[in-house]
């Protein structure tokens, strides 16, 4: 068996290029995700070469890619759907914590 380098992407975050490759997209597509606020970067004033992305960003980028591909959603619509989905899951967690759901 070969030894493999494993890294948690939250301790070694992805660049724009790496995130784009991970979702099968172009760099430009990742920049659009930041523009429509599907992804949030720590320092939006810095050039994109200095941006970094973690697991939650990869999750959202993959979800946006699926909405775009499977439903023909544009990225503004995908942003709204993802925000609603996040809120839904947060509320469900609150209900779950109180044994309501």
């Amino acid at each position: 068996m070969r030894a493999i380098t494993t890294t948690l992407i939250d301790s070694s975050p992805l660049t724009v290029r790496e995130l784009a490759r991970a979702v099968g997209a172009e760099d430009q597509w990742v920049l659009r995700l930041v523009e429509v606020e599907i992804l949030h970067v720590d320092a939006p004033d810095q050039p994109p070469e200095r941006w970094h992305f973690r697991s939650a960003d990869l999750q959202r980028a993959l979800a946006a890619r699926r909405l775009e591909r499977d439903f023909g959603a544009n990225l503004d619509t995908a942003a709204l759907i993802l925000d609603l989905q996040t809120e839904l899951r947060r509320l469900r967690a609150v209900l779950g914590a109180h044994h309501i759901a």
Binding site: I9, A25, R69, G72
Partner: protein, 323 residues
């Protein structure tokens, strides 16, 4: 393994056009999306329709699948099981156009994997037979389910993947490989572990792609995970709830800790054990949800004690109902 009828999964005819497939998929995806569906088997259904759409909306995969379905229909199968016949996919290429997005097939079925390869599939007959070019290999995705204990303490786990590779005669075949994966301590559900160079091989001497493993944590008998926090139901007696008590509880990291149940504790009250949840830069907390458990009145002494309590502390819990 059962043969999967992708056309009936989407409820479309064999000669359905791209538009019909898209419409059928969207309708079913809204019905079975796990975030909105009330159906009991929504997750399985969603997986099936995702898989069916992945194959039927890709010309190459659909042609290969149709040919395979014809062969199965002609030959049948004695035990109702299914194994792809050798060499069934000669002459077909499976590659991903830019519009098809990530190869996120982590959840697809064994049937899908057996004909189109799994997370680390080798891209079918594509690369090697076309004009040489230089490009880094594609990244791939798969999921790994670990126990809460593995997430807390870290672990080394072996995962098995199937890859479709091309042999010397140019024929595709499945290759199984096993990878040793190091799970870092404190990993949380939804995080990704990156395995450098374990995606598709590169072309023209370029590096191989990477494999991303999404971490899932199996349900635990005691703890429920919410983000960084853990929740556990802590049963207490009515006496402990009324008078307050010190009770011993197990902690996720192993070991035990003494917890003070406050006097007059109510059912559903939450006690927080600071930073006893999932470890990390911002450690999560462990929440104990109090649940008052009644001692059974199954002996004369216990019944007498209940009656005595009713006399000593008259109490009408239905007062607010006006009863």
């Amino acid at each position: 393994m059962d043969f999967k009828d992708y056309y009936s999964a989407l409820g479309v005819a064999r000669d359905a056009g791209d538009d019909d497939i898209r419409k059928a998929y969207r309708k079913l995806a809204r019905k079975y999306h796990p975030d909105v569906s009330k159906e009991a088997d929504a997750e399985t259904k969603m997986r099936d329709i995702n898989e069916a759409k992945d194959v039927l909306s890709d010309k190459e995969k659909r042609a290969a699948y149709d040919q395979l379905a014809d062969r199965v229909a002609r030959g049948g199968s004695p035990d109702g099981g299914f194994n792809p016949p050798p060499g069934w996919d000669e002459g077909f290429e499976f590659r991903r156009g830019p519009a098809q997005g990530p190869s996120d097939h982590a959840d697809f079925s064994e049937f899908f994997s057996s004909i189109f390869g799994n997370a680390a599939r080798g891209g079918g007959g594509a690369g090697g037979q076309r004009a040489p070019y230089r490009e880094k290999g594609e990244d791939h995705h798969a999921a790994i389910e670990i126990s809460l204990e593995d997430a807390l303490h870290g672990a080394e786990r072996q995962i098995s993947l199937q890859a479709q590779e091309i042999d010397a005669q140019g024929r595709p075949h499945l290759v199984h490989r096993t990878l040793d994966v190091k799970i870092p301590a404190g990993v949380r559900p939804g995080q990704f572990i990156r395995l450098s160079g374990q995606g598709l091989p590169g072309h023209g001497g370029e590096a191989a792609g990477d494999l991303y493993l999404e971490v899932r944590i199996a349900p635990h008998k005691l703890y429920r995970i919410e983000g960084h926090d853990l929740y556990m139901t802590l049963p207490i007696t009515p006496t402990e709830a009324a008078l307050g008590a010190q009770v011993t509880v197990p902690t996720p990291a192993g070991g035990h800790v003494d917890v003070t149940v406050p006097k007059g504790a109510r059912n559903g009250m939450k006690l927080r054990l600071k930073e006893r949840g999932l470890p990390g830069k911002t450690p999560g907390h462990l929440y104990l949800l109090l649940e008052i458990a009644l001692p059974p009145a199954d002996t004369d002494a216990a019944r007498a004690a209940y009656e005595q309590l009713a006399k000593a502390a008259p109490f009408n819990p239905r007062q607010h109902l006006g009863a």
